[in-house]
């Protein structure tokens, strides 16, 4: 047995490094991937061997996905788990792509493909895009590093730094940067166009909004718009949603193992108040609710009054909750939980309190159903036909990010839970 085979044998037993790209309709499919010890989701495509595309690939995600594919190291392959989305477009661009069929186990496909890849039984995916510079480099100097017309704008296809006053009115370089739609801690699909000076964001713009991940029919909140649904289902779904969000936010704050614990609770078949309380006590002992989030991304109360932005609005002290309009909830003694502060820490606290409240309501609700249709309090806020709470939140994002340091700005994005609840972009590609 050669050295390569020996290494391939060893490597085949390691967790498969996977970079995931989520498209519309991906739902919570990645939760199972995150909890599977046979794979490891990595935060940069460079470190991945397998590109896992989950959900549909609309036109605006096509080129970024192909670019991510080409950024991966050899040996590499792509597995597509479309979950019912049409599959032609991406399959044409990436000929070697493997499809996970409706009856297939996605993890088995990933594992088997990776093993054949390591053994050399399957060729590594070739690059799809031409590996050339966007335009000929025309710099001068010993390293061709300089030249006229090389500051500002996008000369030769590259955004260049130029000067502008910073927050202290000093003339400093700023750089235009476009990030998304495949950043691991971003809501999938979200693209931000930023102008950064050092690590301070001077200006932000929404390039593209986030995708709708949840398939419409499975979403109890969407169902509650049309017909009365069991309160126990609605509240459990709310608790699970907030726990899923907390798991992602913990990963973002560098607490992957703790995030895994929270995610396991979010997907557990039995979810009870005692477990949720124990979790909150644990999280309070870590400093997530203190130094990592305190004072970050403060939204003043008056800016959110009347917006129906759910936990984000209630975290600024506003008592706004569509559930108060429902007699079924009133009969359960429901009163909205409210936190003060309006910063990322308040949003954390608010969601964790709402997890406990939702599970308490679920325990009391028995077989009771909602009595109001046409409007429902979703985990993102007030949902009514044609309205999208996260879209309203997204509009406020640029103002919130401007002037923040990179880390704080990203903490703000994560704390707002921007994955949309209703399709304000087409759900299917």
């Amino acid at each position: 047995m050669g050295l390569r085979q020996a290494l391939a044998g060893l490597a085949g037993a390691a967790p498969v490094p996977v970079f995931a790209v989520e498209g519309p309709g991906a739902g919570a499919a990645l939760d199972a991937v995150r909890l599977d010890p046979r794979v490891r989701l990595v935060d940069s495509p460079r470190a991945a061997n397998v590109l896992l595309v989950v959900g549909g690939v609309p036109r605006r995600l096509l080129r970024p996905t192909v670019r991510v594919h080409d950024q991966m190291s050899h040996p590499r392959c792509t597995v597509w788990w479309p979950r019912g989305a049409p599959t032609r477009r991406l399959a044409t661009r990436l000929p070697g792509i493997l499809l996970v069929g409706p009856g297939d186990d996605a993890m088995s496909v990933v594992m088997d493909t990776h093993r054949t890849l390591l053994r050399g039984d399957r060729p590594s995916d070739p690059a799809v895009l031409p590996d050339v510079e966007p335009a000929p480099w025309r710099g001068v100097g010993p390293y061709r590093q300089g030249g006229k017309g090389m500051t500002g704008g996008v000369p030769f296809g590259r955004p260049m730094a130029t000067r502008a006053p910073d927050r202290d009115r000093l003339e400093l370089d700023f750089l235009p940067v476009r990030i998304g739609p495949c950043i691991p801690f971003f809501p999938p699909g979200l693209v931000l166009e930023l102008r950064v000076q050092g690590d301070v964001i001077q200006e932000a713009r929404i390039g593209e909004p986030a995708f709708v991940l949840s398939p419409d029919r499975d979403d109890p909140f969407r169902q509650a718009l049309r017909e009365p649904v069991l309160i126990v289902e609605l509240e459990r779904a709310r608790a699970r949603h907030h726990l899923r969000w907390a798991a992602g936010a913990l990963r973002f704050h560098g607490l992957g193992a703790l995030g895994e614990r929270v995610l396991r609770l979010a997907v557990a078949s039995e979810l009870n108040v005692a477990d949720a309380r124990a979790l909150i006590r644990l999280l309070e002992r870590t400093r997530v609710l203190a130094w990592a989030t305190s004072g970050v991304g403060v939204i003043p109360t008056e800016r959110l009054a009347g917006t129906g932005l759910g936990p984000t609005a209630r975290a600024t002290g506003l008592v706004e909750d569509a559930r108060t309009e429902d007699p079924a909830y009133r009969a359960l003694g429901f009163a909205p939980v409210v936190t003060r502060g309006g910063d990322a820490r308040a949003r954390w606290r608010q969601r964790l309190e709402e997890v406990v409240q939702a599970l308490e309501l679920a325990e009391r609700a028995d077989r009771r159903r909602t009595e109001v249709t046409g409007v429902v309090e979703s985990p993102h806020g007030r949902l009514a036909a044609g309205s999208a709470p996260t879209a309203a939140l997204l509009e406020r994002l640029p103002d919130l990010l401007a002037g923040q340091e990179w880390g704080d700005a990203m903490t703000t994005v994560v704390s707002l839970d921007l994955a949309p609840a209703l399709p304000h972009t087409p759900a299917a590609p």
């Binding site: 290494l7 060893l10 460079r46 991966m72 690590d199 704050h253 560098g254 193992a257 703790l258």
Partner: protein, 312 residues
């Protein structure tokens, strides 16, 4: 003459110590991650995991970026590992067992630690990519805030020994370890050691909010070397912590090297656990904390140590 290893044996001894330390770091980190994550711990998986992942990275090709600085990029992990090696070399394992217990060992260690900034900056800058560059600048912006208190508490520990040799500092702790004599020392040292090794709450250059920061563009062997070098730095700072604050090789019944290993591993577990339980700090807040709290406390530590020395 202070103990030192023969020139040919020294690199082997340092290499072996670092490799064992790095392997144990990886195993312990997995075990603690499983415990914190509430996942069943499989000893086989924890023990073989680092080797398997290393094999995977060896088989992965290295990628390149547009107009990267290839030489500097290749140098960065080597430099980081070399600095960790210098750090470990000056830490004695026993009264007569040291690779290079030089007269100014603590100064050499401090110099190596200060240069970690260069390695991290090179790694981030050479990729010619946005996230790594931002990670690199972050480290430079933060470095002074923890390097100063780190160096100050080491100097305070050297005062009772009246020597800069690490072996002498260990000997000065007979009967009373520095962790008791200088209660401010070890907590400040451990807090800032996390920054030196950019680990856990102080992992700002390679952070998740930068999609991996300075390592975002690394793959294959380069990524493996970077991860090994970073763990090696953690091993070096914990070994020094064990020698300078926990009495080094001193302890009953067991041989000196065993006490050193136990003490180093306990500090390692403490730091790894902090990595799993404490979120990343905010950059600006930590700079303020460093200058307003840590540096003055470290100066108080020096002042009190000097006072005790005068009153002795």
């Amino acid at each position: 003459m202070r103990p030192h290893a023969p020139p040919l044996l020294a690199p082997l001894a340092v290499g072996a110590a670092l490799l064992i330390g790095v392997y144990l770091t990886a195993v312990l980190d997995r075990a603690l991650g499983a415990w914190v994550g509430g996942r069943p711990l499989r000893p086989g998986r924890a023990l073989a995991g680092p080797v398997r992942e290393a094999a995977l990275l060896v088989l992965q090709q290295r990628t390149r970026t547009e107009r990267s600085d290839a030489e500097a990029w290749a140098l960065a992990p080597a430099l980081l590992a070399a600095l960790a090696a210098v750090g470990v070399a000056v830490v004695p394992l026993g009264p007569a067992a040291a690779v290079a217990d030089v007269q100014s060992g603590i100064v050499l260690f401090g110099a190596a630690v200060a240069l970690v900034m260069v390695a991290v900056f090179l790694n981030g800058w050479s990729a010619n990519s946005f996230f790594p560059l931002l990670g690199a600048y972050r480290f430079v912006a933060l470095a002074l805030s923890y390097e100063m208190p780190f160096a100050l508490v080491l100097i305070a520990a050297a005062l009772p020994a009246e020597s800069l040799a690490v072996g002498e500092i260990v000997r000065s702790q007979v009967g009373l370890w520095n962790v008791i004599r200088q209660p401010l020392g070890l907590p400040i040292y451990l807090m800032t050691a996390l920054g030196i090794a950019f680990w856990g709450p102080l992992n700002l250059p390679d952070a998740e909010d930068l999609a991996g920061g300075t390592r975002a563009e690394l793959s294959g062997m380069a990524l493996l070397l970077w991860r090994v070098a970073r763990s090696a730095v953690l091993v070096a700072v914990t070994a020094m912590g064990a020698a300078v604050f926990l009495g080094g090789w001193q302890g009953p019944w067991l041989p000196g090297w065993a006490w050193m290993a136990i003490k180093t591993l306990s500090l390692l577990v403490a730091l790894l656990l902090a990595g799993h339980l404490l979120p990343r700090v905010r950059q600006e807040r930590f700079v303020v904390f460093g200058w307003v709290v840590l540096i003055p406390l470290a100066l108080v530590d020096i002042f009190l140590s000097g006072l005790l020395l005068l009153l002795r």
